[in-house]
């Protein structure tokens, strides 16, 4: 009996250690980007306010650059608007149509780019009508990620540089589509796979978004860096340099596709969900 007690005492800590490791490893292996975002949402309840204040301090240093970018953007949008105003016919058509995309703005208060699963947190949440699957773009309109989980005041977004991130991308000039993903290494570089072998791309071509229930179409994703034509006459592969600098996200645009849910329900009836 005594010997048994001594034996039990000796193996108690190693057993506890193995138990902790198995539980933690199991939890990590089972976790998805959604559970990770959930944890970050919980953490934001504690550190969100402090992070928000920290990022507000950093804002002052970028004001000059931000102003320059905003005026350039205004010029661009004014030029587009002028085209519409000159052609009353088009304005008429546009107002008849239901605007499918709703825009909002937010500020990134916490960011990561060096993990395999990067997320960033924005300072708007449920009370600002932010919801999951809204697209997140930089002020220039470049693709940066999408909202994955919200709390009352904050929302956690999946960055393009996340190994679970996927979206559709296509050549702006030839409309050939592929699926976009990140390999976990360089956050400036993503890959576009499954492009038909006969599609032609060359370095410098622009890659834009396809319509999906998260992203509005024709938003710039990046520039082709390398084109690897398929050897087996199946699919080609593109390395794309992201237009958005994910390490310097500050102000972002949020885009909600008003018919996104309807689109998704119909779409996923016939395809496996990605």
């Amino acid at each position: 009996m005594n010997k048994l007690l001594i034996f039990l005492k000796r193996i108690a800590v190693p057993t506890l250690f193995i138990l902790v490791e198995v539980l933690a490893l199991g939890s990590y292996m089972r976790s998805t980007s959604f559970t990770r975002a959930r944890l970050l949402t919980v953490a934001n309840g504690v550190t969100g306010g402090v992070n928000e204040r920290f990022s507000a301090v950093g804002d002052y240093f970028g004001l000059r650059k931000e102003n320059r970018m905003l005026s350039a953007r205004i010029v661009e949008l004014e030029a587009q608007l002028a085209e519409w105003v000159e052609d009353p016919e088009r304005v008429h058509i546009a107002t008849d149509e239901f605007a499918p995309y709703l825009y909002g703005e937010a500020r990134v208060i916490r960011n990561s780019v060096f993990s395999q699963h990067n997320f960033f947190t924005i300072n708007k949440g449920l009370r600002d009508d932010v919801e999951a699957n809204m697209a997140v773009l930089t002020p220039e309109g470049y693709v940066a990620g999408y909202v994955i989980d919200c709390s009352e005041r904050f929302a956690v977004c999946m960055s393009v540089a996340n190994r679970d991130f996927t979206m559709g991308g296509k050549g702006a000039h030839n409309e050939h589509m592929g699926s976009l993903s990140w390999d976990g290494r360089n956050f400036h570089r993503v890959h576009l796979e499954n492009i038909p072998h006969y599609a032609n791309f060359s370095p410098g071509d622009t890659i834009v978004s396809t319509v999906s229930y998260r992203f509005p179409p024709d938003r710039i994703i990046g520039i082709v860096e390398e084109f690897e034509p398929s050897e087996d006459k199946m699919n080609s592969h593109l390395a794309v340099r992201l237009a958005a600098d994910l390490s310097k996200l500050d102000r972002v645009l949020l885009v909600k596709f008003m018919d996104g849910e309807e689109y998704d329900t119909l779409h996923s009836k016939y395809t496996t969900k990605y």
């Binding site: 939890s27 990590y28 976990g184």
Partner: protein, 167 residues
């Protein structure tokens, strides 16, 4: 002398530094300091294995929630806490007999550096190795080495400061 209050304050400071400073630094893809492990490095010399395991697990869970890693930090930190007596035997041997914290006094700077390096490298290797799951092995090894170097330097600074503050 277990200095419970000092260690509680130290725990909070380490967690906040990691969550608010080091997780937001975004220095380089190869330098991601997991600074918080210096807490386990500096736990009292005479702490029991059970105590080490429990504190290590708690620290891991807190960092998992903060970083959104769902178990990765716990795997690495609990393992390092559990293996700490072994690292201490290898690097310091009997130098620790009359010391309460594993830095200064009879412990030479060289043996502390070896001790801290063993723990920090084990921690980074588990963390980054599991995170990448074998993809880009060279990149991951570089990340483990460079991040460990920075973390060891930070740990030595922390150890000096901590010893000054508690004694």
């Amino acid at each position: 002398m277990q200095r419970v209050l000092e260690y509680i304050v130290f725990f909070v400071v380490v967690v906040l530094l990691q969550a608010l400073l080091f997780d937001n630094l975004l220095l380089s893809g190869l330098i991601v300091p997991l600074y918080y492990i210096s807490f386990v490095v500096l736990l009292p010399v005479k702490m029991s294995r059970l105590g080490l395991l429990m504190v290590g697990t708690l620290l891991g869970v807190v960092m998992d929630v903060s970083m959104g890693t769902a178990g990765l930090n716990t795997v690495a930190t609990a393992a390092v806490a559990y293996l700490r007596p072994l690292a201490m035997n290898i690097s310091m041997g009997k130098d620790t007999a009359h010391e309460s914290i594993p830095f200064g006094g009879a412990i030479t700077p060289t043996s502390f550096m070896l001790y801290a390096t063993l723990l920090v490298v084990a921690h980074s290797a588990l963390f980054f190795g599991l995170e990448s799951l074998g993809s880009h092995p060279l990149f991951t090894i570089g990340k483990i080495i460079l991040s460990s170097v920075v973390t060891v330097i930070l740990t030595i600074f922390t150890a000096r400061l901590f010893r000054k503050l508690v004694s």
